[in-house]
Assembly symmetry: C2
């Protein structure tokens, strides 16, 4: 059943069928219909098949003078390993606003990594009656952005090793002559990108012939310290055997072996750049200034020093355009970027949010999800993403489940793949009440940014009214603007109408300034400590390695960047087993790294896996193509 605006309301079935069956039961609208609802003219998007379109950045120029809609960020309490339905709630809320409350709305979601789809976890398009469709296209390839990131990341990696190799076999003069070869008229010239390095070196000469031998050496010899290289190769596949490898063992590489490894593609700094950039010109600069390691003298070496910043931008030129898709109820979705939520900031892209805010216009809503719990996702949304975008949300949603709250209240461990303890399947109000300390701290922290906080209780069929009342009372006591029960997984947008109404009221009721947790112009350590305090820590301790890195980044002039903590999502603290709202602990910083192009310093609190593996029986055993219909089967 379609309304005049093209959206549809779902007929739901109980019990809720499998995600793929729900997704396949709905014939998506042609994406040009979705675009039309947003007043997007065909010259503002490129179709990618019938159900996806890339929205072109040019729409931002055209709508520059239009007003933004309301901006809503969805975070969550500290989750169980099963996830508490943050994406599903994000989608359900938008289905409610668009299909039931007749508001213009755009959902902004991260693009999921393709690798894990074939491993354990399955897809990431929401679930039940709150999903993005077609779910196979959402989970696989999409419009090629992650493939572009893989290609760009690995071109830079190849450029690093090859440069070291060529520098090792050539004199300064030979190297320089190869870098600036004579043209047909016998004249040498610098290519445009070389002027970036010349400028960095303080050389203002414009003719290769004019450089002194010392300048030739400084210019041509990057002198990269192989031990300092932080740039790794990437692949969008769960390939654990690439975590640590030795490269360069072929005979032509003359013994120049080096230990390195692969990360999964979404862990690439280029993904973080894509998520944080604001324009093509800005992306060009960020890609060019990505630091891959140091020279032996300790100077940071960038992609532009290697001459490859322009080529990386060319590879990423289409990836900067967000992909338009739709929910089950025909509301528009912009899928764009999917950076890690630990070593990166875990939020979808600034450009998608900016475009969406213009497209929905005043009184419209843009709902964007922040990865992990609010201690990480929302914190980084505010202090990193909003700092670079200059946008501010009016409302923050915090998704909670009775299951996770019981865990925080002292319930038994929740383990993926194992049956839930009976504590989670039967009423236990005391456990819930005890667990609300976790929710309360997330509310208080989030409210401190100056936004209205709405708590969304994502209801499961086993949850009781008494349990839910306990959560609502605790939420209001902690300062929430509102707290509501949602059943969007079972009922689609209809199940999130109360949430939609609460979010509307929260947005309309104030126009607060965004108060950052820390200013940028304090030291790296002071920034780390401000964030640690928000976790409940009483202090921070640094390893020698972390101290050394902080000193180096400060010396290199990078201390003014925001901080992106790489911490477990399963606790406010560094210890995943500490549930609830731990306090008084000392947060240990093992190491400190930087994504200079993306624009943040990331302290490592513990060890982060950046390359997942495959289990004995990966998901792919179920996945196949029905070759008669062309439909994907077995994707979950």
């Amino acid at each position: 059943m379609s309304s005049s605006r093209g959206v549809r309301k779902l007929e739901v079935v109980s019990p809720v069928p499998a995600d793929i069956d729900i997704a396949n039961s709905v014939e998506p609208f042609h994406i040009s219909e979705i675009a039309k609802d947003l007043n997007l003219s065909p010259n503002h998007y490129d179709l990618y098949g019938k159900y996806k379109a890339k929205v072109l950045l040019s729409v931002l120029d055209e709508l520059e003078s239009s007003d933004n809609g309301y901006y809503v960020v969805v975070g969550g309490i500290t989750p169980t390993p099963l996830g508490e339905g943050k994406s599903t709630t994000t989608v359900g809320l938008c289905q409610a606003l668009g299909a039931y409350l007749d508001r213009k709305v755009v959902t902004c979601l991260r693009q999921p990594s393709q690798g894990p789809t074939f491993g354990i976890k399955g897809g990431a398009a929401g679930g039940g009656y709150s999903q993005v469709i077609p779910m196979d296209e959402f989970n696989l390839h999409l419009t090629g952005d992650i493939h572009a990131i893989t290609a760009a990341n690995n071109l830079l990696a190849a450029a690093i090793d090859t440069r070291i190799f060529h520098e090792s076999t050539q004199s300064d003069k030979a190297l320089f002559n190869r870098l600036c070869p004579p043209n047909k008229e016998g004249k040498r010239k610098f290519s445009d990108i070389m002027f970036r390095r010349l400028k960095k070196l303080g050389i203002t000469k414009t003719q290769p012939e004019d450089l002194t031998p010392e300048e030739v050496k400084k210019f041509a010899r990057l002198d990269i310290d192989p031990n300092s290289i932080t740039w790794r190769r990437v692949m969008d596949v769960n390939d654990r055997f690439l975590r640590k490898i030795t490269v360069g063992q072929g005979p032509e590489e003359k013994g120049m072996v080096r230990e390195t490894g692969f990360d999964i593609s979404v862990a690439s700094e280029i993904m973080a750049v894509l998520a944080l950039t604001t324009s093509l010109a800005d992306m060009r600069e960020r890609l060019g200034k990505m630091v891959i390691g140091n020279s032996k003298a300790g100077e940071p070496i960038t992609a532009d020093d290697l001459g490859v910043g322009g080529a990386l931008t060319v590879l990423m030129k289409d990836a900067i355009n967000p992909t338009l898709m739709q929910t089950l109820e025909g509301t528009p979705v912009l899928v764009h970027a999917g950076p890690f939520a630990n070593i990166a900031h875990g939020n979808s892209s600034i450009v998608a949010d900016k475009i969406a805010l213009k497209l929905v216009g005043p009184q419209g809503f843009v709902v964007t999800e922040a990865g992990f719990g609010a201690d990480i996702g929302t914190e980084k949304f505010m202090n990193i993403k909003c700092r670079y975008s200059d946008l501010r949300p009016q409302c923050a949603v915090i998704v909670a489940t009775i299951r996770a709250l019981k865990m925080h209240g002292g319930g038994p461990e929740v383990v993926a793949g194992k049956p839930l303890d009976h504590a989670y399947l039967n009423e236990n109000v005391l456990l819930v009440e005890a667990g609300c300390v976790n929710l309360a701290r997330h509310i208080i922290n989030t409210k401190a940014y100056g936004v209205n906080v709405v708590v969304a209780v994502n209801k499961f069929s086993t949850d009781t009214e008494a349990e839910m009342n306990a959560v609502m009372n605790a939420a209001m006591a902690a300062g929430a603007f509102n707290a509501v029960i949602c059943t969007h997984h079972a009922h689609g947008g209809k199940g999130a109408v109360d949430l939609g109404v609460a979010v509307q009221r929260a947005c309309a009721s104030g126009n607060q300034q965004l108060k950052y947790l820390y200013p940028l112009d304090i030291s790296i350590k002071e920034k780390i400590e401000a964030i640690a305090k928000s976790y409940g820590a009483s202090g921070v301790e640094y390893t020698e390695q972390a101290e050394k890195q902080i000193e180096m980044y400060t010396k290199q002039g990078f201390s003014g960047l925001p901080i992106c903590m790489a911490k477990t999502q399963y606790s406010f603290s560094h210890n995943a087993a500490e549930k609830g709202a731990p306090g008084g602990f000392i947060l240990p910083i093992r190491d400190v790294r930087a994504s200079i192009g993306a624009g943040f310093i990331y302290p490592l609190v513990g060890t982060m896996s950046t390359m997942p593996g495959l289990p004995t029986r990966p998901c792919f055993y179920e996945i196949d193509l029905d070759t008669a219909t062309g439909k994907v089967i077995g994707l979950s």
Copy 2:
């Protein structure tokens, strides 16, 4: 200027500007216009932006009863390292047929590898006034097919190492129980793909519980011999440091290290499968039966044994649809697949050719290019591609240049990047005449397939009339149907009108049967020897390793496959320095490998590089994005 059919004729400038400047000087037609000219309805293609569309395989079902057009294959004489303009001639011929001779025509081209675009070679979209546009989209990403191949190839690679790892740490029973876990009702079942392995093992039972312990072991333990693994990882980047690597050095991999390496993506067997498949169902089977190595008992292990054939097909489901683009003069082009021309067969896809033949219909023309010289490209086109497609060409074009013929006649070595010797820039009819032995052998070999041979002399500005007459005389003496001069590089389609007329006549003048060089049901060695004879060899010699491999493949039941010689393109013989038409040599077979899914055995005549490198100053130094216009600059 557009004709009624939507094609345009070019206004040309002399001297010929840079390729990118010509490409950027023409505003392409919207690809839906090109599709309309081919009577493709919008439900038969998916747009990918404004200038690319994927033509859906469903069009083949719809047009099943239509007649095919003429089928023309373009090969070349043995080339210099500079290339003799085979792609350019293919495009120019089509521009002549479509824009000047008013015939329905489709050009079928290979998708170029993206990696080399940033290395030395630049793009592959033709040149001068005979190009495919937009050339940046042609050379980069296109519609993601190579990225899909990379993802699928590497998922299979990850599945191999992970399976060996999990088998090494688990008992037969634990392994089996993990592969067939109990569902919610506690019941174990086989997934569909497991029945393929059960069938291979001759086990007809359908319930996991019914297997004997010995059957459990046979089923669950692939027992892959790590030393037998031929499946390598791939990347579409020139990364020489990945040629030989050691994987598995992370602590979690418990010392299970292994030496392996990366090839460039187009060297993946999956690319060869894409090029040779005829339908979704056929692709599913080919991907599933790809052999990755042997069990310790010597049994071939396939992708389906690993449970991943279905997932590979899902990753490749859009890649099977060819991409529609256009030439500078607005004639349609199908770009699809780009397998290596040595370790694979070097031809664009069967499905693109099949679709094109239906779309142009009777009296229309499909012109498809075969990689390398005709000794390799055309031979494989006939004996591998046409054997699987059941199509046969009416005409074969052989592209020759005065430059290459002079080289074959004894001219000095031609080296890329070095100035040409004066012999190549001044008239020397004797050198040309002497070199025509190379052309003559290609004509004789090609004619033996039962097709009419048209020689196209790709004229350079320094070539003289006497030189060209020498070639035409030699061509006719060797049995060519016709020989004509072309200037499509300088003049677009107008410069290839004579060639177009000759090709039309050649196609109309006969309806020959295709005579293969060898039948499939003789031994591997007899097939190798038949091909070697066509090179001029008087015999073949095999290393011990080659003998061993031939014996193994024969024992495994693969001796009925066609042969795909991996030989240098720079000579008829194995020695690149032997120009002209060498004879009486013994062809050495160093090793023999197989692409069982793609469907061929490939003997290695010498060493083939499957991963290019980057020079000291790669092309990427010139490549950048004009961020104001979004245009790519510096791509060559």
